[in-house]
């Protein structure tokens, strides 16, 4: 039985919101520019611009076109996918702490990928994608089904702990599997930190259609989620087909979280932080939240990646470490507020 919460109120006027969306777009452009310009190989912005426009030396062309641009593309795709997946999970589970990483979806995806690598010798990126999506699907369904077993909406803590527990089991299984198969261990450890290093178009292009479908589904489900935010009973009485929204959201989360995990490995907290930042600026309308998360997700991932590239020169800090450090404080701040209410 859901408690009745105040309906989605628009906090800002249309113009304020337009300004925020404009700011997000500008932020995204800045992040993309930084991601192309900044790196372990110092290059003048002029040289980079020259190279992008078709000039430059062989070396600069290699750095820009073969390394930074594909990597930036990967960051865009992963960020948008995770940001929106988090927004969907938070709205759908009415749980402000929901995040594909925290709820174990990524761990499930990682486990299935590990099984594929270990037993079936899967090496192609596309193979990773399908395996990761399968794992993500199973975990999303399991976490929600178990968290809400007994017919009531899962409370935030309950769902979170369920996800953590299931995630821990799968992480343990992955550990057991990889420890007994050193080759798989070696291949998995690069992937499991969450990194955009050497993710080329060969990895990004196969997942692009899946992510686009996922984003389209998310936008389609957003207005239904506005009703679900008031509790499934209220949503039903407003004529929303809760079952259909659930299926659409499930499909979208699976595609988005699975694809992102396949590309970058399990990144935690992006899906948690981004929707909250968006909610603070754009209000509680799910359509705006989905759209805003789509813009802001890549900003967070790209900036984290840029920071990871230059934070510990000459080596590189994986983007997953940076996002974890950016995200954990947000999680802690959230629970330190007086009450954590269902959304």
């Amino acid at each position: 039985m859901g408690t009745i919460v105040a309906p989605a109120v628009r906090v800002g006027r249309g113009t304020t919101r337009a300004a925020w969306i404009g700011a997000a777009v500008v932020g995204l452009l800045v992040a993309v520019a930084l991601s192309v310009v900044v790196g372990a190989n110092p290059m003048a912005p002029g040289t980079v611009l020259d190279t992008v426009l078709g000039g430059g030396t062989a070396e600069s062309r290699f750095v820009v076109w073969d390394q930074r641009i594909p990597r930036t593309a990967a960051g865009l795709v992963v960020g948008a996918a995770l940001g929106v997946a988090g927004a969907l999970m938070q709205a759908f589970t009415r749980n402000p702490l929901a995040d594909p990483g925290i709820l174990g979806v990524n761990a499930g995806a990682a486990f299935v990928v590990a099984v594929g690598i270990t037993f079936f010798g899967v090496t192609s990126p596309l193979g990773h994608v399908w395996l990761a999506c399968a794992g993500a699907l199973v975990l999303t369904v399991a976490a929600y089904a178990i968290g809400s077993a007994g017919g009531q909406a899962a409370g935030p803590v309950r769902l979170t702990v369920t996800g953590v527990a299931i995630g821990a089991v799968f992480a343990g299984l992955t550990t057991g599997l990889t420890l007994t198969h050193p080759d798989a261990f070696d291949r998995m450890r690069g992937w499991s930190a969450g990194s955009l290093l050497e993710r080329g178009f060969d990895v990004v292009l196969p997942v692009l259609p899946l992510v686009l479908v996922g984003l389209a589904l998310a936008l389609g489900a957003a207005s239904g989620l506005n009703s679900i935010a008031l509790g499934s009973d209220v949503a039903r009485s407003q004529g929303v087909s809760v079952r259909r929204i659930q299926l659409v959201v499930l499909a979208a989360v699976t595609l988005l979280a699975g694809s992102a995990t396949a590309v970058a490995g399990p990144l935690v907290f992006v899906g948690l932080v981004v929707p909250h930042l968006v909610r603070w600026t754009l209000g509680t309308d799910q359509r705006h939240i989905v759209l805003g998360s789509m813009l802001l997700g890549p900003v967070l991932v790209l900036l984290s990646d840029v920071l990871g590239r230059i934070a510990v020169l000459p080596s590189e800090m994986p983007v997953g470490v940076v996002t974890a450090f950016a995200g954990a404080p947000v999680l802690i701040a959230l629970v330190r507020r007086r009450t954590v209410t269902a959304l």
Binding site: T160, A171, P318, T323, A328, I332, V335
Partner: protein
């Protein structure tokens, strides 16, 4: 036996004004599980690359067998078996304390993420300071304790709420986990494999040299348990009611958590973070004894049996030898998931 019927068999043992109360069912469960533990221990001493019959194992203790079996049993296998029992007991009691203090069956050092803190400390010692055993142990101890203090301070806000404690723990844990993965990336494959095995929780590296000091620490810490037990029991009633009946809630809770964290840290320092024993043992015990709240002593006995049994599975049942932590995470995690389903069905 007291004249007051509380609906449960219990004994008041007392002489000259001193008295303690013992629940009969808890005591009985404890005794049965202790017997099972002895049997498992004999099995642990008999099984291995140098297989022996149970009679031969018993013979070792009665002094009837020659040198080689004595060495195998007493020097190779006994330290590991004793370590499994003591470590299991320590983890289980720590879990019981966490669950009672937060009044949440899901609060355990695993979920809260002390393990990741210990692992971080151990990795720092291994990768940056060279990594002799004493250093690794110290690193892991410090890592776990620092993580516990940070989580406590961040979760404390005019009082300690169980759920805030858990979620803050999850956040810190996720942060540390990513650091750990990253550090593993930066080392040779072999080092990473070694560290990872330890990070999963294993008794493979337990020898008399590491088990004895850890065992002494655990025995001392467990001996302190009766000092905190009565106050922690009252916390079952809720903070306000506990306080109203005369418990200094803040102090009692801090002392209990400190004890639990020390227990976990000692085990983790030697064997790595062995998952889910702390979570599952108290809940299993509560169901077996049907007592209100978690009986600490019986929980310790059950925890010892659990870890010893899991270690036997890890060594002898699974085709490839795996760290015992992989067995406990699967068994305990599966149990936890069952618990969550079961509890929500019951509530509905």
């Amino acid at each position: 036996m007291s004249a007051l019927d509380v609906g449960r068999r219990r004994v008041v043992v007392g002489i000259r004004g001193l008295s303690i109360v013992i629940g009969l069912r808890s005591a009985l469960v404890g005794a049965v599980v202790a017997l099972a533990t002895v049997f498992l221990a004999l099995l642990a001493l008999a099984l291995g690359d140098f297989p022996m019959t149970l009679a031969e194992v018993v013979g070792v203790f009665t002094g009837q067998v020659d040198a080689l079996p004595r060495i195998v049993v007493l020097e190779w296998r006994l330290p590991r078996a004793i370590a499994a029992v003591l470590f299991g007991a320590a983890l289980a009691v720590a879990g019981a304390i966490f669950q009672t203090v937060t009044r949440n069956p899901l609060a355990s050092p695993d979920i809260i993420g002390l393990a990741n803190g210990s692992f971080t400390g151990m990795l720092v010692a291994l990768l940056m300071l060279g990594g002799s055993w004493p250093l690794l142990t110290a690193g892991s101890l410090i890592g776990g304790l620092v993580a516990a203090v940070v989580i406590y301070l961040l979760a404390y806000r005019g009082g300690l709420h169980g759920f805030r404690f858990i979620v803050v723990g999850i956040g810190i844990s996720a942060m540390l986990a990513s650091v750990n993965t990253w550090m593993l990336l930066r080392v040779e494959l072999e080092t990473a494999l070694f560290a990872s095995a330890w990070g999963a929780g294993t008794l493979n590296s337990v020898t008399a040299a590491t088990a004895v000091p850890a065992g002494i620490c655990i025995v001392v810490l467990l001996a302190l348990l009766p000092l905190v037990t009565p106050a922690v029991r009252q916390l079952d009633l809720g903070d306000d009611a506990a306080s109203a009946t005369g418990v200094a809630v803040g102090r009692a809770r801090l002392a209990a958590i400190a004890l639990a964290v020390c227990l976990v840290s000692v085990v983790t320092a030697v064997a790595g973070p062995i998952a889910f024993v702390a979570l599952a043992a108290p809940q299993i015990t509560r169901r077996l004894t049907r007592s209100p709240g978690i009986p600490f002593v019986t929980t310790g006995v059950v925890g010892g049996a659990l870890l010893l049994g899991s270690d036997l599975i890890a060594q002898h049942v699974v085709p490839l030898t795996v760290p015992v932590g992989v067995v406990t995470v699967v068994l305990g995690g599966g149990y936890l998931v069952w618990l969550l389903i079961h509890e929500s069905r019951r509530r509905a």
